[in-house]
């Protein structure tokens, strides 16, 4: 069932990007083999590193879906970063407001619902602006990313600050009933949720009538009229769904990894998710593969610093090259 030709093509493309990156490394006087060696050994070569790849993968899967689902309707959601922050904020608020004796079977769903609500709310304004024809969602979601960061800062430094933490900007630690448990290392149940979300998205988009219709319309108002599907409502539904998914990314990060809400807890997951979605041409299974690849590279960035003395932002180059080659290959077919 796996498209072998596509797999071979993807491997070739990845190799192409790696080769280009090697040239750059050589030009800087670094040994590419050493660099790749430390990148892979620190991630795939030991149990901890491998686990950490999954830790990064979990939010990426959510934020990639946050881009891919609206993309089926032709919408460009660049607001994953902001939506995940608002999701985290609302989840944190719920966990702090609902008392500390909550059992897990209740607490965790509460955080998830709150997280999805937060992300969806943050996507609502761009969605409405777009559906009313006021402003394209690309710009509005982008601008709101910056606002979201400050909103979280405002609450964490202000009303939600932990009074017992000596004035450090962070909330109280969440009660155990809300924390998402881990399997091994820091790999947590968010992985299960993310995989379920992927499967659900694939199901809805590819096998339901509604999914078929939104793909067929692709944002074209005339086509939507013909199908009898109200475009305005579809826009709001898919963008808010995307926001909700991104909200889960943020929720997972604070409920499983951080244990409390702090400012700046996201490592660019929103933008990386955008990258992954495009690398994967918005297809759920490919999102899993590309997400894994990007997670490996992103996780490997630290080892570049420790072993090679390169700034960890160097991996951005590799990721950009990957996206370039994939986009170039697909050309006009990228959809």
């Amino acid at each position: 069932m796996v498209d072998r030709k596509a797999l071979a093509t993807i491997s070739l493309l990845v190799a192409g990007a790696l080769a280009l990156f090697s040239l750059l490394l050589l030009a800087a006087g670094k040994n590419p083999l050493d660099t790749y060696s430390s990148l892979f050994s620190s991630t795939l070569g030991n149990a901890y590193g491998f686990g950490e790849v999954f830790v990064k993968l979990i939010p990426l899967l959510f934020t990639a879906l946050a881009v891919a689902v609206p993309a089926r309707l032709g919408l460009v959601n660049v607001g994953g970063e902001g939506q995940l922050h608002l999701g985290a904020l609302l989840a944190a608020a719920a966990a702090l407001a609902c008392g500390s004796a909550t059992p897990r079977w209740l607490g965790i769903p509460v955080t998830m619902v709150a997280g999805m609500a937060g992300g969806a709310l943050w996507a609502l304004v761009p969605a409405l602006l777009r559906s009313w024809g006021f402003l394209n969602e690309t710009i509005s979601t982008l601008l709101l990313n910056y606002v979201a960061l400050r909103v979280v800062d405002f609450f964490v430094y202000g009303p939600m600050r932990d009074p017992g933490s000596a004035n450090i900007p962070q909330t109280m630690g969440f009660a155990p009933g809300y924390l998402w448990p881990s399997f091994t290392g820091r790999v947590h149940i968010g992985l299960v949720f993310a995989l379920l979300a992927l499967a659900l998205a694939a199901l809805v988009l590819n096998r339901t009538r509604w999914g078929y219709e939104i793909r067929a319309i692709g944002g074209n108002p005339i086509a939507s009229h013909r199908h009898g599907l109200p475009l305005e409502r579809a826009i709001v539904v898919v963008l808010c769904a995307g926001g909700a998914l991104a909200g889960l990314a943020g929720t997972g990060e604070i409920m499983a990894i951080q244990g409390r809400l702090r400012p700046h807890f996201s490592a660019d997951y929103g933008y990386l998710g955008f990258l992954v979605a495009w690398l994967a041409s918005h297809r759920p299974l490919r999102i899993l593969i590309m997400g894994f690849l990007v997670a490996v590279i992103a996780t490997g960035g630290d080892s570049l610093q420790l072993d090679q003395g390169l700034p960890s932002a160097t991996v951005n180059i590799l990721m950009a090259l990957l996206l370039f080659v994939v986009l170039a290959r697909e050309g006009k077919l990228a959809s």
Binding site: L24, A28, A71, R72, G74, V76, V78, L129, G133, F134, L135, N136, T138, I139, S140, L142, L143, L144, Y146, V147, R150, V151, D153, F154, Y157, G158, G218, G219, N220, Y271, F274, L275, W278, H282, L310, P311, A313, T314, V315, N316, I317, L318, M319, A320, L321, L323, F324, L327, A328, E330, G331, K332, A334, S335
Partner: protein, 305 residues
């Protein structure tokens, strides 16, 4: 002698708006050709880092500025084969360019972190700078600030009064018709990318040489994205880019002036202002901008999947 609040604010607004202006002006050229580069952020970073590096090493500011501009132009051109020749999705390509710019500038810019040079100093204009009240605001800025108005006119002239400009706009409106009329659409679009990149590179150079006097990773802090928003705000008209940049620069400067004068407002709320104001104005001005979007660009937004 000390500027009052309004003076200080306006002078700060003008300075802060300069990099936004140049980047948005460059992006206007690109979008008039029916293309969109979301990665202006990356281009600005390249301009900022290269200009700082070259100016530091050579000791020559003009050389540094030129190098920054050239770096920006060439960097933008990277999009050419991708979006013009291959027709790849422009929004994703732009973001890839942003990542590339972030990574590249961090990569070789590392050697320059922690160093500083004098860079572009303010150039008070004789006589004018002593005018009461306005003198301090308008005429004690650096060279690139003074060149904003001339550049805006130059680009306006280029686009509306030269054959090249008209051809470019035709390409942006309807590529097939332009092609049929004999235009080399591919070349024109590449040229637009290059020119746009020159200006974005200059914007970055202003940040590192005139404002910060140093280089750090990620110096632009999202200004490239703001520039893209400003193009829409200006309804793709070069002459409107300046007021747009001033508005945004004004909110940036307001926030810091309020803090410096002891205003009792949360710094976080103040920080949100620039983005919220931009969003609000974009929504309010939608009628006047919607009709002006180049047709070719509409395609990019409405059919991207």
């Amino acid at each position: 002698m000390h500027p009052d609040f309004v003076q200080g604010w306006l002078a700060g607004a003008i300075l802060a708006s300069t990099p936004l202006f140049y980047a948005a002006l460059g992006e206007t050229l690109v979008e008039k050709a029916g293309l969109i580069n979301l990665g202006v952020e990356g281009t600005m970073l390249m301009g900022a880092s290269v200009s700082f590096a070259v100016a530091s090493i050579s000791g020559s500011l003009p050389l540094g500025l030129a190098a920054g501009m050239l770096a920006g132009g060439l960097f933008n051109l990277l999009l050419g084969p991708l979006i013009v020749v291959r027709g790849a999705n422009q929004l994703a390509s732009g973001l890839a360019l942003m990542f590339l710019g972030q990574g590249l500038s961090a990569f070789y810019g590392k050697a320059f972190v922690g160093t500083s040079i004098d860079g572009l100093a303010p150039l008070p204009i004789p006589f004018l700078s002593n005018l009461p009240w306005v003198g301090q605001i308008l005429f004690r800025q650096d060279l690139l600030v003074y060149l904003m108005l001339p550049c805006a006119f130059a680009v306006w002239f280029l686009l509306s009064r030269t054959a090249w400009g008209l051809n470019l706009r035709a390409v942006g409106e309807d590529r097939l018709v332009a092609y049929a009329a004999g235009s080399n659409t591919g070349l024109l679009r590449h040229q637009a990318l290059f020119l746009g990149g020159l200006l974005a590179g200059l914007a970055g150079a202003h940040l590192s040489l005139a404002i910060a006097h140093t280089w750090t990773e990620g110096l632009t802090a999202g200004r490239g994205f703001i520039a893209v928003a400003l193009v829409i705000f200006a309804a793709w008209r070069p002459l409107r880019v300046l007021p747009g940049a001033l508005l945004f620069g004004g909110t940036l400067a307001l926030q810091i002036q309020l803090q410096a004068r002891g205003a009792q407002v949360s710094p976080f709320l103040l920080d949100m202002l620039p983005y919220l104001v931009t969003l609000l104005v974009l929504v309010l001005l939608r009628k006047s901008s919607r009709g002006r979007m180049p047709e070719g660009l509409k395609e990019v937004f409405e059919s991207s999947r």
